[in-house]
Symmetry: C2
Subunit: 294 residues, 2 copies
C-alpha cells in the first residue's frame, strides 16, 4: 500500500506568517487576544489558546490586552475602533488579503463600483467590503449579477475562490459595462494546492483531506477530490476510521492552507498504526512520500 501527500499541502505563506507573528507576540506578552479565530483551524487555535493567545468574539472582550488581527483581516470600522483603544496591535492580516483591501479602496476612489466575487459571510469578504468607498456588490455566481448597465466596474475576488467561477462571472459582466477592470486576487497557493490534490486524487483509490471544517479552501479540496474518488474530510487523526483502508492500494493525503504539519503527521502515523506498521512512524511532514518539498 502506498500513502502519499499532495504537493503544497498545509500552511500557505499567509497562515505561516500569522502563526509566527502570534507566537512572537506570546513570547513578548503574558496574554494576547485575537479578534475571531486567527486561522480557520480549530486545533491550531486551541494550541495557541494553551499558550495564552485567546480568540475573542468582539471588541468589548479585549480588555487591555494586546490584539492580534486574524489572517482574514477585519473591517475598516473595527480597525479604527481598535486604533482608538491604543493597545498594542499585531496585524497578522495576510499580505495578499491586505493588498485586495488596498485595491478596493483605490478603485472605488477612482469611481469604480466594485464587484466582490466571494461568499458574503466569509470574514475576508466582510472585511474587504468595508474598504469600498462607494457602490459594491458581493456575488458568488453569475446568476447574482445586478440587472443594471454600468459605465465602469471593477472586479476583485476572495483569495480562495476558483478561477473558473471568476471567469464565468467576468464573462457575464462584459455586456453590462463599457469598462471592466479585473484584479485577479485569487491566491496562487490556492490554485496550486487544488491542482496537486486533483493530480494525486486521480492516482488514488482513497483521499483523506485534512483541515478545519470551517475552512473555505479545505472544503474546496474536499469537493475536488470527492468528485473523483472516495474521500473523507477530517480535522484530526481521531476522526480517521480504519475501515476506510479496506481493499485500498493508493492512499492520498492533502491538507488545507490552515492545517498545521503536526496534524498531517499524526494522521499519517495513525494510518501506519491501523496497518500494523508503527515502526515506520515519522516525526516531520517532510518524511511523507510525495510531500511538499518534491
Amino acid at each position: 500500500m502506498k500513502i502519499r501527500l499532495a504537493k503544497n499541502s498545509g500552511f500557505c505563506f499567509g497562515v505561516k506568517r500569522a502563526i509566527n507573528m502570534a507566537e512572537d507576540a506570546s513570547a513578548r506578552y503574558p496574554e494576547t487576544v485575537t479578534l475571531g479565530p486567527i486561522i480557520h483551524n480549530p486545533q491550531m487555535v486551541q494550541r495557541l489558546k494553551d499558550r495564552g493567545i485567546v480568540p475573542v468574539e468582539s471588541i468589548e472582550d479585549i480588555g487591555s490586552k494586546p490584539v492580534i488581527i486574524r489572517s482574514h483581516g477585519i473591517t475598516r470600522g473595527l480597525k479604527e475602533e481598535l486604533d482608538n483603544l491604543q493597545l498594542p496591535i499585531i496585524d497578522a492580516t495576510c499580505p495578499y488579503v491586505a493588498s485586495s483591501q488596498q485595491y478596493v479602496t483605490q478603485l472605488s476612489r477612482e469611481g469604480f463600483p466594485i464587484v466582490i466575487v466571494g461568499n458574503r459571510d466569509h470574514p475576508e469578504v466582510v472585511a474587504l467590503k468595508s474598504y469600498v468607498e462607494g457602490e459594491s456588490y458581493i456575488i458568488s455566481n453569475p446568476r447574482e449579477i445586478p440587472v443594471k448597465r454600468f459605465i465602469r466596474l471593477a472586479v476583485i475576488s476572495q483569495t480562495t475562490q476558483s478561477i473558473e467561477n471568476l471567469q464565468d462571472i467576468v464573462t457575464a459582466l462584459i455586456p453590462c459595462t463599457k469598462e471592466l477592470r479585473i484584479i485577479n486576487t485569487i491566491c496562487s497557493a490556492t490554485s496550486v494546492r487544488q491542482e496537486s490534490s486533483y493530480l494525486l486524487a486521480r492516482e488514488s483509490d482513497l483521499m483523506i483531506v485534512i483541515g478545519g471544517k470551517n475552512s473555505s479552501n479545505t472544503r474546496m479540496l474536499f469537493k475536488i477530490c470527492q468528485s473523483m474518488v472516495e474521500t473523507y474530510l477530517i480535522e484530526t487523526s481521531e476522526e480517521f476510521d480504519s475501515t476506510w483502508l479496506e481493499k485500498k492500494e493508493n492512499i492520498g493525503l492533502t491538507a488545507g492552507a490552515s492545517t498545521p504539519d503536526w496534524i498531517i503527521v499524526e494522521v499519517y502515523n495513525k494510518i501506519l498504526k491501523c496497518l500494523g506498521n508503527e515502526q515506520h512512524s515519522i516525526s516531520s511532514v517532510e518524511e511523507i512520500p510525495g510531500n511538499k518539498e518534491e
Copy 2:
C-alpha cells in the same frame, strides 16, 4: 408572400456621418480624395467618385487636393504625414473608432500592454495598433493568446467584433495576468443589427443580406443568417436571382452598416418586379414593412 426588412438595417451613425461629411466637402471643393475607400461599399464609393470624391491608395496620389479620412481611421504615422502636407483635412473617422484610438494611447501610456481583438488586416485594426505606445498583440481568437505571464494587460476590440469572441478571449486571458482592463469598444449598432437579423431569419425561409463583400459587419450578418436559413449575400439588385423565390413565403432582408438605403430600395423593388408586382414599387426604405423605424 411577405417581404420584411430587419430593424436597424443599413447605415450606422459613423457611416452616415462620414458620407455627410464627404458630400459637404464635395460642395465646397471641386475635387477631393479619400485615403482608401471611405466606407466598405463599392457602389456608394462609386457614386461619390461620380461627384468628384475619388479614393486613392497612397499619400503620393493626393496631389494638392483636400483629403477625407475614411470612417475606419488611418494610422498615426499617415495622419502626421497628411498634417505635414498642410492640405485641408476632413476627418471622417467614426467617433467610436477615434475613441478606441484614444483608449489605446492612454492605456499604453499608463504601462498596459494592449491586446487588440480583431482581424489584423482590417484598416480599423491597422490604424488602432499604430496608436499603441508600447507592447501590443492583435488576436482574433483565444488560440492566438501569447504564451506569457503579464502583470497588467488591457483589451480593446475592433468595433465590429462579436461579443462572444471577446468573452472567450477575456476568459482565456484571466489566468495570464494580475490585472486585466477591458474596454468594450464593440459598437452597439453592430450587435443590435446582428440581433435583428437573427430574429428576422428565424421567421423567414429566405434571407437576402445586402452589402459590400469587403464589409466585415455585412459578412458577419451573412454568417448569422446562413446558419439558420437559405441566405444570399448581394451587393446590388443586379445580383438578385428570381429562382431564389421559388416556394418561399417569408422573405427577409437585412443590410450592413455601410449599405446605402437606395440599394436596399432597389433590391426590394427588384423582388416586387420578379413577383409581377411592380405597381407597389417604393421610393424610400421607410416603406418596407418591419423597417428600421419600427
